[in-house]
C-alpha cells in the first residue's frame, strides 16, 4: 500500500461524488430531465438491494441473507419503523445462518 494509491483513490472518489452535484448545480433543468433524475434513487437502491442480497463478488448466491431481506420486505410492507426493519433484517439473517 502506497500513499500514491491512497491519494489517487481519494481524488478519484471525490471527483465522482462532486461531478454529479456540479453538473446539475443550480441549473434549472428541463422537466423531462427532472423526472428522470428523481427516479435515480429508486432504480439504483433497488439494484443495490439485489447485489447485497443475492451476490458474492461476480457470483449469484442464494443464502441466509435472502431470508433476512425477505423478512425486511414484509416488515416494510407492514409499515414497521425503519429501525425495526433493519433489526429484523439482520436478526432473521443471523438466525437463518445459525440454523443452516
Amino acid at each position: 500500500m502506497t500513499w500514491t494509491l491512497v491519494f489517487a483513490l481519494a481524488a478519484t472518489a471525490y471527483a465522482f461524488k462532486v461531478l454529479g452535484l456540479v453538473l446539475v448545480g443550480e441549473r434549472k433543468l428541463p422537466a423531462m430531465l427532472d423526472r428522470c433524475l428523481a427516479l435515480i434513487p429508486a432504480a439504483l437502491i433497488a439494484a443495490l438491494v439485489m447485489k447485497d442480497t443475492f451476490s458474492v463478488g461476480q457470483h449469484l448466491q442464494l443464502d441466509a441473507r435472502a431470508a433476512g431481506v425477505g423478512a425486511a420486505v414484509i416488515a416494510a410492507w407492514r409499515k414497521a419503523p425503519l429501525i425495526a426493519v433493519i433489526v429484523i433484517g439482520a436478526g432473521v439473517t443471523a438466525l437463518a445462518r445459525a440454523l443452516t
Binding site: M1, V49, V69
Partner: protein, 233 residues
C-alpha cells in the same frame, strides 16, 4: 446546518427522529464493517495512518474494501485502483439525483459531495418533502462518516475484529435500503424504475466487473421520459 429547520426542531420532528434512530442502528453496522476494514487494510500492508486517511478522504466503503483486498492478495496498485474506481463511480449518479436538493453555497455543496453515498441518498429519497430530504441527507451522511472513521481507527489499532456476518450485519444494509425505497414504490413510475434497475443489476452480476451492474441500473430512469399522463391534458 442552514435551512428552514433549526437543529433543535430536528429532534422534535417525528420523521427525523426515525432518521436519527435508523442512523444509529445502521451506524453500528457501519462501525463493525469499518473495524473489519481497518484490520483488512493493516494486514494488507497499509500503515495505521494510511488506513485512517483512506477512510477520511475516500469514504466509499465498497471501493476501500476492494482496493485493500486486491493489494492484500498481491495485486498491482493499478488493478487495485481500477476496481475501486469502478465501485466509486455510482456516487456521481447519486450526485445528479441529490443536486436539486442540495442547492446553496458552493462550500456547502463541496462538503455535501464527500457524504454523497448509498445511505445518504437512499435516506433522503425516503422523505416526502424538500426540507426533510435535505435534513435526512445531512444527518445520515455525517453520522455514517463518524461511525466509519471511528471504526476504521479502532480496527487499524486493535487489529482484531468480529466477523460482521455473525450477527447478520451484512444484511442490515439491504434491509435498510428496502425500507428506504419502499414508500416511493407506491408511485407507479418509481416502482417500474426500481423493477428495471433490479432486473438489470441481477442480469449483469455474473458477466460484468463488480460495480458495473449498479451503474447500469440507471437505465431504469427511462420511465421518466414520457410526460405524465395526468399533466398531458
Amino acid at each position: 446546518m442552514r435551512g428552514p429547520l433549526k437543529v433543535r426542531e430536528l429532534w422534535r420532528d417525528e420523521d427525523l427522529r426515525q432518521v436519527f434512530a435508523a442512523c444509529v442502528t445502521l451506524g453500528l453496522a457501519v462501525g463493525v464493517f469499518a473495524i473489519s476494514f481497518g484490520v483488512t487494510a493493516v494486514s494488507a500492508g497499509a500503515s495505521v495512518a494510511q488506513t485512517c486517511v483512506m477512510s477520511l478522504l475516500v469514504f466509499t466503503g465498497a471501493s476501500q474494501f476492494s482496493a485493500v483486498s486486491v493489494i492484500g492478495a498481491g495485486g498491482s496498485a493499478a488493478s487495485a485502483f481500477g476496481s475501486a474506481a469502478l465501485l466509486a463511480a455510482r456516487n456521481s449518479v447519486y450526485g445528479l439525483a441529490m443536486a436539486p436538493h442540495l442547492k446553496g453555497r458552493l462550500a456547502t455543496r463541496l462538503v455535501a459531495a464527500q457524504i454523497t453515498i448509498d445511505e445518504s441518498t437512499a435516506m433522503a429519497s425516503a422523505q416526502t418533502d424538500a426540507t426533510h430530504r435535505r435534513a435526512a441527507f445531512w444527518i445520515t451522511g455525517l453520522s455514517i462518516y463518524l461511525f466509519w472513521n471511528t471504526g476504521t481507527l479502532i480496527g487499524a489499532i486493535l487489529g482484531s475484529t468480529i466477523d460482521p456476518t455473525t450477527y447478520g450485519l451484512d444484511a442490515a444494509f439491504p434491509a435498510a435500503f428496502v425500507a428506504m425505497v419502499w414508500p416511493s414504490l407506491r408511485n407507479r413510475r418509481s416502482a417500474l424504475a426500481a423493477a428495471i434497475g433490479a432486473t438489470v443489476c441481477l442480469a449483469l452480476i455474473p458477466f460484468t466487473p463488480v460495480g458495473v451492474p449498479i451503474l447500469c441500473a440507471v437505465l431504469g430512469v427511462v420511465v421518466g421520459i414520457p410526460s405524465p399522463p395526468e399533466r398531458a391534458t
